[in-house]
């Protein structure tokens, strides 16, 4: 295996709502941006992976991008669609199958909370009928217990959302571009206790494309390249507590995020203390808090001090969700994980503009989590 694989082009279609443009057209837009950024043509792409959760197959994009006979594999892996596409594209280059590969994710969801079909998740109909099959409930149930066990306050939940909206004001691809103050966040209607409506992200639209290349190709092109130090994608271990769980083991168990995080750090040969900027799955405020610990950046309960001291702010010791995360960008499922990698690429290249993390960040960490209990982590190095 050749692990000298780099991102040489990154493109994004703004997240949010774009009426009149299909999810796949947003994907095409992102691919063109990424190709321009990489300084290559569509015909130079030797392998492509991509997908969406609700906006159709990715390989149809060749109609718009060009009929070059490129092998294009559709990825349908729920919240890990983008992470899976990235993992596959990276591995194709690492395996020596090609020198330039594309990973693309896009989506376009209807308004309102996601509604899942019980049978798609191997669950009985009554589970959905009785109103227990909501992702928002899972996050609330998980943070409710976490707060009780580890002394996290409601105010800290609010600070996470306040930071997200503040970062979003500085980010051109974010959906929510207006600040929301802490009092408004805390006093807003409760969706699922303890989480108010400003503490949840919303389903949205958007697309991200990344062009990956071998080290050989990077030298040939003279690219502004960011090395992929590691990618790790893991499903849940025994005894974990996941979304859509009618029962949980009393013995407790591991978490897919912990497993993926450990694997990614091991593969990169570094630890949490080496990370300069992180994008952590924040489908709601509590998720960012718990994922800080599950990814090894702090101990359980220390997030209270992290948020109070501003350590995860843009100028802090380790900025988290520098583009406003899911809270400010919304969650187009197929694109969301790749957005995190896009943002780290921007930050490590020093192209963040008003939201640039100071002092030349060298190592970026991204983490996505989704149903029915899976996590994907990518570590990038300048």
């Amino acid at each position: 295996m050749n692990d000298d694989v780099h991102i040489i082009g990154a493109g994004i279609h703004p997240f949010g709502r774009t009426d009149g443009r299909s999810g796949r057209d947003q994907g095409v837009y992102a691919v063109r941006e990424a190709l321009t950024d990489a300084g290559i043509e569509w015909g130079d792409v030797e392998f492509a992976y991509g997908g969406s959760a609700a906006a159709g197959s990715a390989d149809i994009m060749v109609n718009e991008l060009g009929l070059t006979s490129v092998p294009f594999i559709n990825v349908a892996n729920g919240c890990a669609t983008g992470g899976s596409a990235l993992t596959a594209a990276r591995n194709a280059i690492a395996a020596g199958a090609c020198d330039i590969a594309l990973a693309v994710g896009f989506d376009k969801h209807p308004r309102g909370a996601f509604n899942a079909k019980p049978s798609d998740y191997g669950l009985p109909e009554w589970y959905g009928e009785t109103g227990m099959m909501l992702t928002t409930q899972f996050f609330a149930l998980k943070i409710q217990r976490y707060m009780a066990l580890h002394g996290i306050s409601r105010r800290t939940l609010g600070l996470v959302a306040e930071k997200a909206f503040r970062n979003g004001t500085l980010c051109e691809h974010a959906w929510r571009r207006s600040p929301v103050d802490l009092d408004t966040i805390l006093s807003a209607p409760i969706v699922n206790d303890p989480l108010t409506k400003y503490m949840f992200c919303s389903p949205a639209e958007g697309a991200v494309a990344l062009v990956l290349a071998s080290g050989k190709k990077v030298r040939e092109l003279g690219s502004d390249a960011i090395r992929i130090a590691s990618v790790a994608f893991r499903t849940r271990p025994e005894g974990s507590f996941e979304v859509f769980a009618p029962s949980i083991s009393i013995t407790g168990g591991g978490k897919p995020t912990e497993v993926a995080s450990r694997a990614a750090f091991e593969m990169a040969g570094i630890g949490p203390e080496d990370i300069s900027v992180a994008q952590l799955q924040d489908t709601e405020s509590g998720a960012e808090i718990m994922h800080m610990a599950e990814n090894g950046f702090c101990d359980d309960g220390e997030q209270e001090q992290w948020l109070a001291e501003g350590w995860s702010e843009l100028g802090g010791r380790m900025p988290v969700n520098t583009d406003g995360g899911c809270l400010a960008c919304g969650e187009p499922i197929g694109a969301s994980g790749l957005r995190q990698v896009y943002e780290n690429t921007v930050q490590l290249r020093g192209r963040g503009g008003a939201r640039q993390v100071p002092n030349g960040p060298k190592v970026g960490y991204s983490h996505v989590y989704g149903a029915p209990g899976l996590s994907a982590v990518a570590i990038l190095e300048r």
Binding site: A113, G128, T130, G131, A140, L141, N192, P246, T251
Partner: protein, 130 residues
């Protein structure tokens, strides 16, 4: 309430003090509900304890989309997880309580309650003090 049909067969026992029906896997782990399909042959049904402790809880303040199929008009409800000691932690409706009444670790007891005009479902409520 005897006129109500259970929301699904096989969720709880038919006895004066009904109990949830879980399933013991070959490795001893108990899950709920009893799995369907081929996995059902690999487990042994087991009636679960009527008493446990509150593991976590939340509110459902807005009407869920389909597949939710509850009564009109929508009434906000509570859900949570209850740990049945030595058995399993089950997700459940919580009844006869408001958010202010709930604290993680408090004792809970099993109940079969109306779901809508025609159907019953299972729930837990804070244990009544003798």
């Amino acid at each position: 309430m005897s006129a109500l049909t259970p929301i699904a067969p096989g969720l709880w026992t038919d006895e004066a003090e009904p109990r949830l029906i879980g399933a013991r896997r070959a490795d001893g782990e108990i899950v709920f509900p009893v799995p369907s399909g081929d996995a059902a042959a690999l487990v042994e049904p087991v009636a679960l304890s009527r008493k446990g402790t509150l593991w976590s809880w939340t509110t459902q303040g807005f009407e869920p989309k389909e597949p939710y199929n509850g009564p009109q008009l929508f009434q906000p409800f509570l859900i949570g997880y209850v740990e049945l000691p030595g058995e399993v932690i089950v997700e459940t409706r919580i009844v006869d309580a408001s958010p202010a009444d709930l604290a993680i670790g408090m004792p809970m007891e099993f109940a079969v309650v109306p779901f809508d005009d025609a159907r019953s479902t299972y729930a837990f409520r804070p244990e009544r003090q003798p």
